[in-house]
């Protein structure tokens, strides 16, 4: 208990400093990628988050409006210049999540939120800010620090007709709810012979932050991925964050929505019109010919940074944000493999038993004949995330490693 309280204290204390830090780093990152994007607009290298650059293979009803947006549009001058003329509105990733949540709460009175500090405090990363005053304390329920029990409560509420969105103040805390998530979220629909549905969304900030220490910088996808009956998606842009949030709430399956602590302050212009994304679809970030790079969440930006270098070196990588961590969109992935014949996976997940390991297995099983080289999987190291900044950087995959891996693959 003491550890939890301490942990929350730490998360809260670090929130503002951390997000500032994030913003800074993304300003610099994005400036670089944006400049490339600007130079090459109209050709191949435009960073888009809506996936419409995909080569016409996803005919499964994308409802999203076609709207070209910069995935990392945090550059203030462009933003200021564009607000009046362009359609849509600009917001930060956490605001996009809130917008999606709010729209669904408006649409369906059975949608409710529960978790630590989601109500009066507005959420540790402000995803639920302003919702408690609007919808009341019961619909936006501040729970005691009792992860296993309030998650179980969400499941019981879902079984009896509600659609709870359960927030883990930090995704890592949900390890304390692992029993409820695995036994009841994942398996209860099956054990009940299909009688009870568990339409919950479990979401929260996760991933490796900046010097938050091991417990607050977990890579939980690997832990959750083998639970039967659960879907997992990871958002990476304001556009897909909102669309996935709405899709997750509407799904009758339990969905774990991974948000990344370092991405909450990404800014992007998104459509004014309502849109819902497809939970099962991957997102084409950058079409290319030479190598398929599969990634998700924050590593998408490390990949795009590397892509810039690679393009300068004459490579034409195809970047796919797999987005759906379980199940994989084998169609989008397969088509890319059939085109490039080379696969690089870049993930922040643990190396052992991680998403990349599963993805490698799935590609080998399904598309082995199309591969011209062994799949390379860059995962973070199998170490507890270190506190020291230097060690932390060496734990997760850095852009330079991605460049080297592509060069090796394309030899």
């Amino acid at each position: 208990m003491a550890a939890i309280i301490q942990g929350i204290g730490a998360a809260t204390a670090l929130t503002s400093a951390n997000s500032l830090d994030t913003k800074k780093s993304f300003f610099s990152n994005s400036r670089r990628s944006l400049s490339v994007g600007a130079e090459r607009k109209g050709r191949t290298f435009v960073v888009r988050s809506d996936g419409h650059l995909s080569y016409g293979l996803n005919g499964r009803g994308r409802r999203a409006e076609q709207l070209i947006t910069n995935a990392v549009a945090a550059k203030e001058d462009t933003a200021a210049a564009s607000t009046s003329s362009k359609p849509g509105h600009e917001l930060l990733l956490f605001e996009a999540l809130r917008e999606g949540l709010e729209e669904e709460m408006d649409r369906d009175p059975a949608v409710c939120v529960m978790g630590e500090d989601v109500g009066h405090y507005g959420g540790s990363y402000k995803v639920t800010k302003g919702l408690a005053p609007k919808y009341g304390d019961l619909r936006v329920l501040d729970t005691p620090i009792a992860e296993n029990s309030f998650t179980g409560m969400g499941i019981g509420a879902a079984m009896t007709g509600l659609r709870p969105v359960i927030e883990g103040m930090n995704m890592g805390f949900l390890l304390l709810a692992f029993n409820q998530i695995s036994n009841n979220c994942g398996m209860l629909h099956y054990t009940s012979g299909g009688q009870f549905k568990i339409p919950v969304v479990i979401r929260g900030p996760g991933g490796v932050g900046r010097q938050l220490g091991a417990e607050h910088s977990q890579r939980l996808e690997s832990y959750f991925q083998s639970i039967p009956g659960i879907q997992m998606v990871a958002c990476s842009t304001p556009y897909n964050a909102k669309g996935l949030m709405k899709a997750a709430i509407r799904s009758d399956n339990p969905v774990i929505l991974f948000e990344h602590v370092l991405l909450y302050n990404l800014k992007e212009r998104i459509p004014d019109e309502e849109y819902v994304l497809n939970l099962e679809e991957a997102e084409m970030v950058r079409p290319g010919e030479h190598v398929t790079i599969l990634t998700y969440s924050r590593m998408r930006y490390h990949v795009m940074q590397a892509a810039k270098t690679l393009v300068n070196k004459g490579y034409d990588p195809e970047v796919i944000d797999i987005r759906s961590l379980k199940p994989f969109d084998l169609h989008t992935i397969g088509n890319s493999v059939k085109k490039t014949h080379r696969v690089l996976i870049v993930e922040e997940c643990m190396r052992t038993g991680g998403i990349g390991a599963s993805l490698t297995a799935a590609i080998t099983e399904n598309f082995h004949d199309y591969l011209d080289a062994p799949i390379i999987c860059l995962s973070s190291q199998d170490v507890p995330t270190p506190y020291a900044g230097t060690l932390e950087n060496w734990t997760v995959v850095q852009p330079a490693q991605i460049v080297t891996a592509v060069e090796q693959l394309c030899q």
Binding site: G156, H189, G194, Q195
Partner: protein
Amino acid sequence: MATSFSATKVLQPLPLNSTRSAEKPLLCQSLKGSSSFLGSSSHKLSLKKTFYPHQSQRRSNNAVVAVSDVVKEKKSKSKSSSSNLLITKEEGLVLYEDMVLGRAFEDMCAQMYYRAVSTGFIKLLKKEDSVVSTYRDHVHALSKGVPARQVMSELFGKTTGCCRGQGGSMHMFSKEHNVLGGFAFIGEGIPVATGAAFTSKYRREVLKEADCDHVTLAFFGDGTCNNGQFYECLNMAVLWKLPIIFVVENNLWAIGMSHLRSTSDPEIWKKGPAFGMPGVHVDGMDVLKVREVAMEAVGRARRGEGPTLVECETYRFRGHSLADPDELRDPAEKNHYATRDPITALKKYMFENNLVNEAELKAIDKKIDELVEESVEFADASPVPARNQLLENVFADPRGFGIGPDGRYRCEDPKFTEGTAQV
């Protein structure tokens, strides 16, 4: 064993004696308005002797008492009705039939349940009310109205089972009868029950369904009361005044672990007042006493006055499971409880009060024997699940299996319908 522990487990006089007695009236007052559970603490000593036979040598300590709620036999005083009887003939027959059903069913399965508790509580419920049970859930399902043949078929792993053979003995569910499980890990059902109670409140207050007065019963054992989920949910239930009743079936043994060796304060009902809800202790071998407590608690919950913790003293007549050699429990202890068969006690009460005659009960016995017999035949004759059932119900929305290499949803593949797809 008990003796060696008793020396170290004597209740310490509370250092806060004086402040505690100052607090007591406050707590009592807050509960008095809505509850008649408040018994006098003078029941305490006798309670201890009978309920915890191992620890009669324990020193009693009145300072610890916050609320003692042994149900009083003389409750009729407060009743305005002309009859002193606790039940009508019809009610008696319903209770009797349900308990006989439970016994016949469990005899068939070589298990031993707590019929009086299940019957005493669940027979008071409406269909819309929810029940959450543990791994010992057959009888709760039966009491709640799930047909015996469906429960039996589920035990047989047949498609006609209430969960199509996918749940089994420890995972009984019925959406129609609001049996929410069937939870095999200790304590994990309590949060789910709390969630169901939350839905009732939500429907009333958020969705403005003023007539939604549904309550939820959470059944669990004494071993569970050392698990965090129990305490976490007591706290949340009181915080939000949820319509839930926590029913502890205390049989003194968690497989081989004696309650007294595992629980610092073995009087579980006391944990209710500690969280600000009434705690009641009742003889779980007496269906009429259980029923009285249940009526009070269910009524409280329905009126929106919040949760209640009820500790029912029961006993397990057989081992924990077929694999349990049951060597640790004292034969004298077993005999003590064996003399207190709840069905015999109910019969006696009904005969003494001329509610029923022998023939009427015989007819029920016969009916139930036939019913259970028939349920076995039905289950036996029912088909085992075919392969095509394997991949059904993994996801409520089968798109959860994802998109295959051909661009179609994998669940559309005929191999999924056949159950032969590799997932």
